[in-house]
Amino acid sequence: MARSTLHPGSKTTCLLSVFFFFGFLSALPTPSLHGQEKPYFVTYSHDLEEPGNLEIESKTALGQPPGSHRYGALASELEYGVTGWWTSELYLDGQATGQESTLFTGFRLENRFRPLMREHWINPVFYVEFESITGADKNMLEVVGHDGQGDLAEPNADTRQEHEHEAELKLILSSNLKAWNISENFIAEKNLGHEPWEFGYALGAARPLRTLSSGKPCTFCLEKFTAGAEMYGGLGDVASLTLGDTSHYVAPIVGWQLPKGRLSFSTGFGLNGNSLDRVYRIGWASELPQIGTWFRHNGGTR
């Protein structure tokens, strides 16, 4: 069985990969920021990536289950706008737990589709994801079934042995009303290894602090900040649909648009005994505009 721990021998390879990855990125067009997307960490709105753009995003989650060690989990995301109604994403997940180990915990491939080509009061988006992750994944990009803090407290040595192949479906409903975005996500996740369907939800609301643009390039002006909150949790599984025996969080969020990217912060507060007391999240997103055109112009294709 494949082990995903980063042994010292593989660290050089890993560092070289990171070096080349960032070297490659530095050769690409200047990153920019496009303020369409909301600073949610778990909830999805109906904003899709602009066609031809590639967004590079990292989401870090920090927490400490009671009686266990602190951990930091990192999800690195590449998001590409295939068309105006289809966005595709690749996630690479990892985590480091104090006094235990640093692990690569797997990958996720997801696609989001807008079935309706017009803007409506409520805009549906279909979300389809395949995950290949280990039980050690602590990113909490969604909470489903009976997920709880106990799952996060188990030692990496045990959880890294659990390899999960999962399919996840989401129905994303989202509205933009008077500068507010209000989004609701209904989540159904199936472990392909004969586990039952599990369910979860995520709700989000966010608004820019100022709706008029000042007309001057600025970093600290109010229109560069978005504030809101999200709430997410599990709903049990097919055998027992419940709000109990699972975890729920409410998390104020702040997004800050910088000239080269978007910085997001959130502190999630656990709402019941199965939840972590706090989950701190930090996100960074930067966008490479019209990457396909850049490759055509610089790659020699005609």
């Binding site: 920019s32 709105s45 066609p51 080509m117 803007e119 933009n176 500068a179 008029l212 643009s213 505009p289």
Partner: protein, 126 residues
């Protein structure tokens, strides 16, 4: 004697005319209420520079700095079609986008910023 391909030629000409007619009347899709709207920020002096900044942040990557597009799929914005549109048409189109042709919906921009963008688009038509 009528040439054998005369029918095909007529069909091609009719299709082209229909296509041109559909393209030039694209604003007919805008609901009457939206079509009649005027830009509430048009008289504010800061609207054009603010719209220019929004254009630079969100639109320039496709429609280019001079708003003349890329000559291919990304259309020019200094055209008779834009000139003939009302403020309401433009704001509606920005909000809706044209997802099937690659134009994203900008409904996530606050409406006030869409109006500022409309003011800028108007200013570059001269």
């Amino acid at each position: 004697m009528i040439p054998r391909n005369f029918g095909l030629l007529c069909l091609a000409i009719a299709s082209t005319l229909l296509f041109c007619a559909a393209a030039s009347f694209r604003w007919d899709r805008v609901p009457a209420k939206e079509h009649a709207r005027t830009n509430p920020l048009a008289s504010r002096p800061e609207s054009v520079p603010a719209g220019a900044l929004i254009y630079k942040e969100h639109c320039e990557q496709c429609h280019k700095t001079d708003a003349m597009g890329d000559g291919n799929k990304k259309p020019a914005l200094r055209t008779d079609r834009i000139k003939s549109a009302t403020d309401g048409d433009l704001e509606w189109f920005l909000r809706q986008g044209d997802l099937s042709h690659g134009m994203p919906s900008w409904s996530s921009l606050p409406q006030a910023q869409r109006w500022q963008l409309v003011a800028y688009l108007r200013s570059i038509q001269q």
